[in-house]
C-alpha cells in the first residue's frame, strides 16, 4: 500500500510550496482517499484530486502542475461533506491513516507490573464456571420436577354397553376424568374411548389368539384382557400424533376409524388400513359387568412409535 497523504504535510507544486494538507476526502465505496484539501497559506482552501498528486513523502505532498493551477481551483465547500464521526460506513476509519505517527495513552502505573494477564483472565473464567456449576444441577432438577409421574392404574366407570346396538361398529364413550395437578384444585377433563362389540373374526384380529397383558412402569402385570371377551376399548388418542379420531364412512373402505389430522385410517379391529400411523389403535384394559357397566384403565401411550410405550 502506498503512503496516504498525512494531515499537516506541506504541499509543494512544481514551482513552489503552496500550503498544507488540512483535510482528506475519502471515497465511501472504495475507502480510498480521493482528494486532499489544501489551505493556501491564508488564501482559502482548495480541494485537490489525488490524480494531481505526484508523490507522497514523509511530511510533504508533491503536486503536478504549477501553483497558479491549484490557486485557480474553486474554493473548498465544507458543507458538501460530513465527518467520519457523523456517518456510518463499515470499516471506514480503520482504512484511513492520515495522522502522522501513533496516538498513545499511557498504561496506569499499577498495570505496568502485572505479568500474568493471561493467568488472571483464565482464573476469572474458572471462577465464573465454579459459580455456574453448582446451580446448574439444582436448576435442571427444579425444571424437571413434573416430567415423570407414576402411572394411574385406577378403574374408571365410563358408561353402559347397552348403547351399543350393532357388532363391529365403533361407539364413542365420553367420560369425565378427575385430575389433580400439583397445587391446582381438582378439575375434570373430558376424554373419550371407542368401544366395539366385536364378532369373533374381528376379535381374532385384535388379539391374534393371545390374551392381552397390561403392565405397570415396573413391568408388573396390572390386568389381562381375555381374548374371548367381545368388548374392545380403543384409546381415543390416535397413535400417529395424538389427535382424536372418529368412526365414519369412507367412500372406498366403508366404515372405518379415521383421524382428521393426518388422515390415518384404521379398520374396526384397529389395524392400519391407510395413512401415516405407525401402529394399530391402542386397546385398553376393559371390564364389563353383568349389568353391562363398562370400566377401563385410562392408559395413554406415546404417539408416533411402532411399539406401545405407556406414558400415563
Amino acid at each position: 500500500m502506498t503512503m496516504q497523504p498525512q494531515l499537516k504535510s506541506k504541499v509543494r507544486c512544481a514551482d513552489r510550496e503552496i500550503g498544507e494538507v488540512t483535510k482528506v476526502v475519502v471515497d465511501p465505496l472504495s475507502h480510498e482517499i480521493s482528494h486532499i484539501v489544501v489551505s493556501m497559506n491564508g488564501s482559502g482552501e482548495r480541494q485537490v484530486a489525488m490524480a494531481m498528486v505526484q508523490a507522497v513523502r514523509e511530511g510533504t505532498v508533491e503536486l503536478r502542475g504549477a501553483a497558479s493551477d491549484i490557486a485557480a481551483l474553486p474554493p473548498f465547500k465544507r458543507e458538501d461533506y460530513v465527518t467520519t464521526h457523523e456517518v456510518e460506513i463499515a470499516h471506514l476509519e480503520e482504512k484511513v491513516h492520515v495522522t502522522p505517527g501513533e496516538v498513545l495513552v499511557p498504561f496506569p502505573e499499577l498495570e505496568k507490573s502485572v505479568k500474568r494477564r493471561t493467568f488472571f483472565m483464565n482464573f476469572t473464567h474458572a471462577i465464573g464456571f465454579l459459580i455456574g456449576l453448582p446451580i446448574a444441577f439444582p436448576i435442571l432438577r427444579y425444571l424437571m420436577k413434573p416430567m415423570y409421574q407414576p402411572f394411574d392404574n385406577g378403574w374408571l366407570k365410563i358408561g353402559n354397553v347397552g348403547k351399543i346396538k350393532q357388532d363391529d361398529i365403533g361407539v364413542q364413550f365420553k367420560y369425565k376424568k378427575k385430575v389433580k395437578e400439583a397445587y391446582m384444585p381438582e378439575s375434570e377433563i373430558e376424554k373419550n374411548v371407542w368401544i366395539l362389540k366385536a364378532t369373533p373374526a374381528v376379535l381374532e384380529k385384535v388379539y391374534q389368539g393371545k390374551d392381552m397383558e397390561f403392565r405397570d412402569a415396573t413391568g408388573k402385570a396390572v390386568w389381562t384382557n381375555k381374548k374371548e371377551v367381545p368388548y374392545v376399548a380403543f384409546s381415543g388418542k390416535c397413535p400417529h400424533l395424538g389427535c382424536g379420531y372418529k368412526w365414519r364412512a369412507h367412500k372406498v373402505l366403508g366404515q372405518v376409524f379415521l383421524c382428521p389430522c393426518h388422515l390415518s385410517i384404521y379398520d374396526a379391529s384397529g389395524k392400519v388400513l391407510d395413512g401415516p400411523a405407525p401402529r394399530p389403535l391402542d386397546a385398553l384394559p376393559i371390564k364389563v359387568s353383568s349389568t353391562g357397566e363398562v370400566e377401563i384403565i385410562d392408559m395413554e401411550f406415546k404417539a408416533g412409535t411402532k411399539s406401545q410405550i405407556r406414558i400415563i
Binding site: 400424533l241 401415516p276 411402532k306
Partner: protein, 370 residues
Amino acid sequence: MAHSSVPSTEPTAIEKVIAFIDERVGLKQMQAKMLNEPVPGGSRWAYVFGSVLLFIFIMQALTGILLMFYYVPTADHAYASTQYIIHDVDYGWFLLSYHFWGSTAMVVCVFAHMSQVFLWGAYKKPREMIWLVGLALFGIVMGFGFTGYLLPWDQRAYWATTVGVEIMDKTPVLGDFMARFLKGGPTPGQMTLSRFFVIHVMILPAALMGLAGLHLFLFRAAGPAGPFRGTQEEIKAKTDYFFPRQIWKDIVGMAVVFASICALAFWEPVVLLEEATPDPGDYHPEPEWYFLFLFQLLRLKIFAGEFGQFLGAIALPGAFMALLAALPFIDRDPERNIFRRPIALIGWIVVMVSILLFTVSAIINREFLD
C-alpha cells in the same frame, strides 16, 4: 449540513436539555451515525422488511404486555380470562386480535425478508453472520407462534400443542426428554401452560431483543449489500443516506402493515373455540396457516410409520434449516445477481411452490373431512 449557523436568540429549555445530554453522551453524533448510513444504489421499497419487522415486534410487545393485565396463565382461568378480554374489556377484542394478526404479519414479513436476502445474494461474504443470526431469529419467531398459540387454552390451542409436542418427541435420543420438559409431564396440562407462558413472555422476547440487536450491529458492521447489478459508479451515483428516503419508505411500509393488521383485527377478530380438553369433539385439529404445509406433508404415505415420521417431521425440516445455515459457506461464488445463480433461483421457486401447493392441498382437504 449547516455547521456555521450561529443561534441568534437564547436557546429554549428543550434545546438546553438536549445540549446537556449531548455534552455527556454525544447524542448528536450518535443520531448522525444512525441516520447517515449510505444505502448503496439508493433507497428501495424492497429494503423495508427489516424495519417493518422491528415495528411489528414493538407492537407485539406492547399489545402482549397489555393482554397480561387481564390474562391469567392457569388451566382453570386462562380460557375465562381470554374470553373476558374479548367480550368484557373495552377494546380487548381489538388488542387481542391485533396481537394475533400481528403474529401472522410477522411470519409473512420474515418470509419476505429472508427471501429478499436470499434472492439479493446478501448472505454472502462478508454478511454470513448476519444471515446466521437471522436464521436464529426466524426460529424465535416460529417459537413465539407455537407457544403463543396455547395460551388462550381453547381446543385449537390444545390440539396444536398436543400434535406439535408429539412431533418434537420424534427427535432421536433427546425427543422424549424435550417433549416432557416442554409439557412439564406426560400430557399437556397446567405445567405446559406455565412453561409456554414463561417461554412466550420472558425467554423468547429477551432472546429476540438480544439477537435482533446483534443482527443490527452485525448489519452495521458489514454495511448494506446494495443492489446486485450495476457498476461502482452507477451505484455510487444513486447512493443516498438511510435518512430521509429509506426511512420514509420504511415508515410507509410500517403504516401499511399497521393498517392491514388493524383491518384484519377489525374484520376477522379472534373467536375462541370450546375450552381445551383431551376430547376434540367435532373439532378437526389444524395448526396455524404457516404450519399447514408441514401438517399436510405429514399426511403423505412416504412419511408413514415411525421412521417416516422422523423423516418428515424432524429430518426434512432439520436438513432444510441446516442447509440454510450452511448456505453462505457452500455458496462461495461472489456473484450476487439472482439471474446468474440458476440453482439458487430454481431452489427458491421450488421451495415456495411446494409450500404453496402443500398449503393449498391442506385447505382443499378440509372439505373432505366435514
